[in-house]
Symmetry: C2
Subunit: 206 residues, 2 copies
């Protein structure tokens, strides 16, 4: 497979979500033009994105929504259960244990790691809060695929390194800091400022 | 000003953050090539994005980091204080009152609206939790610019309409649902699944 850009993968996620909605509305086929309109991009971009993964649509007929959703889901790895652990049982960590979208898409949150002894041993939305010192045992037992970092910025790099050393290759980082990782590890940053800045841009210029 | 695409505005936010980091590291100038490398895009894209807003860089010298950051901040409206209210004092709403990045960028969270009487009248990280029935009075008093929707999906459209009717034009939506709004109103969706799906793509294909 050719090297796929981050923005293509991001658009794939958006196509996946739009297709889910279309299927709920009993829409059976969709043209690249209509899809482009939904996503507010060009139809050439839609066709280019999908061409990375082979040919789906039939000329003049458009794409079958169910087939396309299934195929994109496979590409994104959403046909698989991924074992996820959160580090940090603060507000963000707790909110994430309650974010049912993750579960629905195959991201199963099995553990929240904490260092605060008053929280260790309790649960949050049914998820066990476990001593971060027990990360190694828990990592092996739960076969953790993805770590979500929800600790203060000053602790984020150390937490990340701890799990890189255990063998974790994928991190979702909520701390407002850029993490340094080896080449074979991927970090995605969840920066909640980006969307709100688009709103201030609109209010300023719209 | 020409019509600017959402993805350009999003990249502007990223440039702004990268420039902040570079300035902290005492970097005074940066070339479009180096900026492109940081953002993992082409230098032609960087130059094209910045050209929308006029000419900043000097050929062969690159961009002055402080000047460029200031200019992008103005474009994004970050030189202004925006009054923000959150609707919903659940986990996500509470986490956001504690998200200091918003405040640092000029997004001032003045109120959390709630319908749960056990929460109304209390505070969350110093922010008053106010009866949603008092939205109209509060909207006028606080001159709310942006509403953050952090209620369950089934209530999100009604909440949005309530504030559209009061005159709010900018919404940040955390509910996993697509909101219908008039043409002169903008909704940005904070979908936490997009980044985690990039991770599963990487684990599947990387």
């Amino acid at each position: 497979m050719k090297k796929i850009s981050d923005s293509t993968v991001r658009r794939m996620s958006q196509y996946y979500r739009s297709l889910s909605r279309l299927i709920e509305q009993s829409v059976q086929t969709i043209s690249s033009e209509k899809m482009a309109q939904i996503e507010n991009i060009t139809s050439a971009q839609v066709r280019k994105d999908l061409s990375f993964f082979g040919s789906f649509g039939k000329r003049g007929l458009g794409y079958n929504t169910v087939e396309l959703k299934t195929k994109i889901g496979e590409i994104l790895g959403l046909d698989h259960q991924w074992n996820v652990a959160i580090v940090g049982a603060g507000n963000i960590g707790r909110a994430l244990t309650d974010y049912t979208e993750f579960n629905r898409q195959g991201f199963f949150i099995g553990t929240v790691f904490e260092s605060d002894t008053s929280k260790i041993g309790t649960q949050c939305n049914g998820v066990d809060i476990v001593d971060i010192e027990k990360a190694k045992i828990n990592y092996k037992k739960k076969a953790i695929d993805i770590i979500i970092i929800a600790v203060p910025a000053k602790h984020a790099q150390a937490v990340c390194e701890q799990f890189v050393n255990l063998g974790v290759r994928a991190f979702l980082n909520f701390a407002p800091i850029s993490l340094q990782v080896p080449d074979n590890v991927v970090v995605k940053n969840e920066n909640m400022s980006v969307e709100i800045e688009s709103l201030s841009f609109f209010l300023r210029n719209g």
